[in-house]
């Protein structure tokens, strides 16, 4: 019966691929496709992008100045004042909108600062190990030993109350989060075969660090950065609420909440709108961060 079996060629010649038809499945393209399929990532990014647009276009969205007072004190929402007015007769809608600028500003700079400093320290600790690792890890431990908001309060109390000091405090308390993440990621990437291969090729440490280790470490940092953005917004609002962050008449959401405390029964809108703004921003960044985490999770890949 074996007489009828066709001989199978041992190697099949590969069909030639013309360069025009070759589609490069870059990791970035894969990412975009997975992102658009992920519902909460899309919703989160829509919220985040809307706030970003509001922050950029603030002067075009409202016709009031955020410091402009009027005779209309604590007015309920109306056609003239969409979100009502506060105890000084300022338009609340305008203040919430300008507040977006402050919150995103604080989030962006504080988190970028933490990422840069934290990643660099984590990279050094993870790659070189030894006394550098011991020293850096202990610093992280010390920073993490304090409840973060308490540490932020202490830093602002020491430096003086202002928005920029609050920003600095938020950046400092978030350093160990990124540092530890980076360190653990570097440790696992460092033991990969392609790093050994890079050494066997004769590459210098610096090249291995920045061309091979770092590009394979940044995804969890990006996820944590997005989630950390939400935390930073809350922390900024908390410091503002305690009077340690932005100072009046800056339209910071936390500060606005603090001012509104006395009028919560008389004029609940003074509290509701800044509160909703904080909640929505945090929700947006959390949804986006969770979505990114799912997308980057290697177990999700087929």
């Amino acid at each position: 019966m074996s007489a009828h079996i066709q001989p199978v060629p041992f190697t099949k010649p590969e069909p030639p691929i013309s360069p025009e038809k070759e589609i490069v499945e870059s990791p970035f393209r894969d990412f975009v496709r997975a992102f658009l399929r992920h519902r909460s990532a899309v919703i989160g990014s829509v919220i985040v992008l809307s706030f970003l647009l509001i922050a950029i276009l603030a002067p075009f969205i409202t016709s009031y100045e955020y410091t402009a007072r009027s005779q209309a004190l604590l007015q309920a929402p109306s056609v003239d004042h969409w979100f009502g007015t506060d105890e000084m007769g300022r338009d609340l809608f305008t203040r919430v909108i300008y507040g977006t600028r402050i919150s995103l500003w604080v989030g962006l700079f504080a988190i970028s600062g933490s990422i840069i400093v934290g990643s660099l320290l984590g990279l050094i600790a993870g790659f070189y190990g030894g006394w550098r690792d011991t020293m850096i890890s202990r610093i992280f431990d010390i920073l993490l030993a304090f409840p973060s908001i308490l540490l932020a309060i202490a830093i602002v109390a020491m430096l003086g109350r202002s928005l920029s000091n609050a920003l600095l405090a938020i950046a400092i308390i978030n350093i160990p989060t990124f540092g530890r993440l980076m360190r653990s990621r570097v440790l696992s990437v460092k033991s990969e075969d392609y790093i050994l291969a890079a050494r066997a090729m004769g590459m210098k440490n610096r090249r291995i660090l920045f061309h091979h280790i770092l590009p394979n470490c940044w995804t969890p940092i990006m996820v944590q950065g997005t989630l950390g953005f939400a935390t930073a917004v809350i922390e900024a609002a908390a410091l503002g609420f305690l009077g340690l962050g932005a100072q009046p008449p800056e339209p910071e959401w936390g500060t606005m909440l603090a001012d509104a405390r006395q009028y919560i029964q008389l004029a609940p809108w003074t509290m509701i709108f800044p509160g909703v703004a904080v909640a929505l921003t945090v929700l947006g960044f959390n949804l986006l961060g969770d979505g990114l985490r799912d997308i980057f999770d290697p177990r999700m890949k087929q």
Binding site: F10, T11, E14, P16, I17, S18, P19, E22, V24, E25, S26, P27, E192, D193, Y194, L196, A197, A198, R199, A200, M201, G202, M203, K204, R207, H211, H212, P215, N216
Partner: protein
Amino acid sequence: MLLQVHNLRKTFPIRGGLLGKKTGEITAVDDVSFYVKKGETLGLVGESGCGKSTTGRAILRLHEPTSGQIEFEGKSLLALSEEEMRKARRDLQMVFQDPFASLNPRQKVMDILEEPLIVHGMGNGKERKEQVQELLHLVGLNQSHAMRYPHQFSGGQRQRIGIARALSTKPKLIVADEPVSALDVSIQSQVLNLMADLQEKFELTYLFIAHDLSVVKHISDRVGVMYLGRLVELADRDELYERPLHPYTQALLSAVPVPDPDFQKQRIILSGDVPSPANPPKGCAFHPRCPHVMDICKEVRPEFADQGGGHFSACHL
């Protein structure tokens, strides 16, 4: 003589306790000596954990040897400074076992193959690009594959990329650490034939590490057998496969399957397990399992000596 290894030893510390104090030592490679001639393939076989991969990596100083001598083209590799060693790596390349782990997933094939050239300052941008195309052609890949990422290739294709990378700096010695053991059997022969073709074309010298005796027989000129960090036998391929001297080699060879259902063969079944390399037996490392064990084996470590005609063996028999 391209490479000479004398009394190579590599130990790894065992650390324990709160402060990471050294509580013991694992001897991964123990007093291994051999040489590799220019243009030949030396196969290194042994069970997993016998130190064959560590030997390969110690020679390239990817694991710094604990003691011993490594001479490459008459120059001691261990005497080189870190920077000199880095430059010397141009002549000493490596092919890895796992083609899925040994390529950086974030680099395109073009960058993977071009990088060694950049690192060693070979050629300008245009020349390097041309050379990458040539390398792809040499290992049987399509030129348009240069813009792809590693995850878009099969295991066999990835290993071809790994071989092309090792070849890019025109090295003299390639340490191939189980280059085909992660591949399908049908792909294994293709990759082995490719390696043999390239050897002929570029007069390459291979140190070929494997655990598959038939693979080693196919590609090697000479074969060394390792057991528990020690080289127990080394001889020309045909000599070793037909006239094994060491009882361990005899047992190993008797386990090779023969593709004939009627063939009745005498298998030598070893009892017990490989002893822990943290606490190797006194005398000959193989004596607790050896069918021919004598009193002297338990006390005196046999010398790895030439038994005539370049057939080395470490046995009191």
